[in-house]
């Protein structure tokens, strides 16, 4: 690298001295940036950007994994078929219920846990470490443990219920309990990350405000509602939006817990799309589903961004 480019790392570029030199420096700077970025950019383009674009495009073809079937461009054919596919829209609804319930319940529980961890209680060290367990566990292991817990014939949940005289249930196998059961697992697995983020936010709130409110006679709940929560609002919004999107896109947990069953009651869209692509081998149709999912996610994201934008505008004097 040429020595004329050695100052490019500064946060603020040096003031221009002579026009010709600046042009040279800018070019050298650009060369250097390209050299730094290429090693990571190449695999990203090959294995992420190109597949993403061709994934979108595949939705407009009739590609299958069967035999040596030829690939035809069929325009909106898949989307028209998809539009009346009640199995897909059913899974779409389940996905929204699943992601919404997990995101909200995780937020509420994590808020509670973060408040406890931010208080003057003992046992906080132990709680912090224990609270990390769901995060560190491989999702497959999480699913395996909860399958054991929910097992109607040998699980501790039914064991405990029967010990107090309540009949147990086939939690993951019954139409009515399967979705709530997987939601509980989703919340269990989601609490650590959200708690850590909320805790980080809480620790950046000045204690002065809290104390001032306390002096004014505000109780615990009013202090939380009027001081803590408004200060956390941006974090809460971001965490909930991201959590919703992650859960909506999630796969492994439910796949191992129920494989979408019973009777499709826990069939979230990524799972349905996976089965369509790799079991039914309908690559084109599955890609069209993926396209619809991306549009849905972009809509959710834009709602969030519009909200953020309004907030930013409203905050101006």
């Amino acid at each position: 690298m040429s020595t004329t480019a050695t100052r490019t790392t500064r946060e603020t570029p040096p003031p221009p001295r002579a026009g010709k030199r600046v042009g040279h420096r800018a070019r050298a700077q650009r060369r250097e940036a390209v050299a730094l970025v290429i090693p990571a950019l190449l695999p990203i383009i090959i294995f992420s950007v190109i597949p993403l674009v061709s994934g979108v495009a595949l939705g407009f073809t009739d590609t299958t994994l069967k035999r040596n079937a030829e690939i035809n461009f069929i325009g909106f054919g898949n989307f028209i078929e998809l539009f009346v596919d009640h199995r897909f829209w059913g899974s779409f609804g389940i996905g929204i219920v699943w992601a919404g319930a997990v995101a909200l319940l995780t937020l509420v529980s994590a808020m509670g846990l973060a408040l406890l961890l931010n208080s003057d209680l003992r046992l906080k060290g132990l709680t912090r470490v224990l609270a990390l367990i769901p995060w560190a566990m491989p999702p497959v292991v999480t699913a395996i443990v909860w399958r054991m817990i929910y097992n109607p014939n040998s699980g501790p949940l039914n064991g405990a219920l029967q010990a107090v005289g309540i009949p147990g249930a086939n939690w993951l196998g019954d139409f009515s309990t399967a979705l709530p059961a997987v939601i509980v697992v989703g919340v269990w697995a989601g609490i650590p990350q959200t708690t850590v983020l909320l805790l980080a936010g809480m620790q950046s709130i000045s204690t002065e405000q809290q104390e001032a409110a306390a002096v004014d006679g505000a109780g615990v709940f009013r202090r939380f509602w009027h001081v803590t929560l408004p200060a956390l609002r941006p974090i809460v919004l971001a965490v909930t939006a991201l959590d919703f999107i992650w859960q909506f896109n999630s796969f492994g947990l439910i796949y191992v817990l129920t494989e979408g069953g019973p009777g499709g009651r826990t069939m979230i869209p990524p799972l349905f799309t996976y089965l369509e692509a790799f079991r039914n081998r309908e690559i084109g149709y599955a890609s069209a589903m993926g396209d619809v999912l991306v549009i849905a996610i972009l809509l959710i994201l834009s709602l969030y961004l519009i909200n953020q934008f309004r907030q930013a505008k409203g905050a101006r004097p």
Binding site: A40, L242, V294
Partner: protein, 279 residues
């Protein structure tokens, strides 16, 4: 706190804390105890948190299953390779993202953030076709390449945060002394970045170690299965599964990430708003 909490407030808070402790900790305890239980005890509705009889054979029979040890070996190989390649590739770009201004940085940031929200399923379908056409599907090398790509955005995000925390003045001082860019990077930036690199590397390792979905799609040969896929293949029809060895295998699969997460505990805070390899 200036105000004093009434005694029942404190009691309520401890009750809530105990509730969380049980809810969050119980599954791991149950798994641990199941791994030491005899199959008779495991198939009953008894809710003993401690095994009535300690059965240590589950671990032996888990390891003796034909695919568990090789699967652990595959997982270790894939995770280590992903870790090394990802960190090496992301170091320069993270440096560029943190230090440069302008369109490149903006584009990089937008891409990093948006890449976190696309469903993996949309990318894996064409990726599967691409890898198949170059005969890399159903290979560990193909899986490593995919892991590297899926982990890069998050790694870049983490690392650029660590770079940004290094004062640029230090690098300028190096320039004044006439050091070359390479020397500055090696002598000044790299040593200061080391803790961040270690944290990022560990996080990448855990992400690859725990990953399930991409391995499920890309690996078909049982001898190539990673640990999560091998564990899932333990699960037969309900009732036929040997729960003891399954629990033992699950414990063994959790230990590395649990250790790393405990070490990383303090680092897993605010800036990490993105997910790693998506499960």
């Amino acid at each position: 706190m200036i105000t004093r909490r009434p005694w029942y407030g404190t009691a309520l808070m401890y009750a809530a804390l105990a509730g969380f402790l049980v809810f969050l900790g119980f599954p791991l305890l149950w798994l641990l105890s199941a791994s030491f239980k005899s199959s008779g005890e495991l198939n009953s509705l008894a809710i003993n948190l401690l095994p009535a009889e300690w059965d240590f054979s589950n671990y032996a029979s888990a390891l003796a299953r034909q695919n568990l040890l090789p699967a652990a070996g595959n997982s270790l190989l894939v995770s280590l390779a992903t870790m090394v390649i990802t960190v090496l590739l992301s170091m320069p770009m993270a440096y560029a993202l943190a230090r440069l201004k302008g369109r490149l940085r903006a584009a990089g940031t937008v891409w990093i953030l948006t890449s976190q929200v696309f469903p993996s399923i949309l990318i894996i379908i064409p990726l599967f076709l691409v890898l198949r056409s170059i005969n890399l599907n159903d290979t560990l090398f193909g899986l490593i390449l995919v892991y590297v790509t899926f982990t890069l955005p998050f790694t870049l995000w983490m690392l650029q945060g660590y770079v940004a925390a290094i004062p640029a003045d230090l690098e300028e001082a190096g320039e004044m002394d006439g050091a070359s860019r390479f020397t500055i990077l090696r002598r000044i930036v790299l040593p200061l970045l080391a803790p961040g690199l270690v944290a990022t590397a560990m996080f990448t390792f855990v992400s690859a170690w725990n990953e399930f979905f991409l391995a499920l799609v890309l690996l078909q040969s049982p001898e190539l299965y990673t640990l999560p896929i091998a564990l899932r293949s333990f699960l037969g029809a309900e009732g036929q599964t040997q729960l003891g060895p399954l629990a033992a295998g699950a414990i063994l699969a959790t230990i590395p990430s649990l250790i790393i997460f405990t070490i990383l505990q303090k680092k897993l805070t605010g800036g990490m708003l993105a997910g790693a390899v998506k499960g």
